[in-house]
Symmetry: C2
Subunit: 93 residues, 2 copies
């Protein structure tokens, strides 16, 4: 993890709860703003993660903004295709 | 479809393009604001739908807001469980 990347959580193939714990842990380390980022099918998981953090662990958590966009990704055979992406910005008051 | 529901598209199991065409068709009928709603795994599809409408059909389309929440749903055996939901509000200038 590089300096400056610390407040970004990239949602991938791990269990939902692994990311929930990563978010809660970063907030507890004093970070006040976290971006939860996901692409493609992981977008649904990113929404689950933020909702579980809020409902079970940090009811004061705020959803500051949600951005959706389209990214170009290279597939294994080198062709480019488009994938939807989402960036949920959450903050701790 | 009931009067007043016309500007809500509920994303379910149909192909993504079926919903894309529904959105474009409603905009072309003169509706200026549409809610694209989805729950659970369909959330990723809802994001795809809005991005395809914007990128391929209506570049002027604006994403007015994105809300995420948690809903209680009854499963087939009657037990309640929680599911994430999303409401993307899109407008035509």
């Amino acid at each position: 993890m590089q300096e400056g990347d610390k407040n970004i959580i990239y949602v991938g193939k791990k269990d939902t709860m692994a990311y929930v714990l990563a978010v809660v842990s970063q907030f507890n380390q004093g970070i006040n703003e976290i971006h939860v980022k996901a692409r493609g099918r992981s977008i649904s998981k990113a929404v689950d993660i933020t909702q579980i953090v809020k409902n079970r662990f940090m009811p004061n958590m705020l959803i500051k903004g949600i951005d959706i966009s389209t990214e170009d990704v290279a597939s294994e055979d080198g062709r480019m295709s488009k994938v939807s992406s989402m960036d949920i910005t959450i903050t701790k008051p």
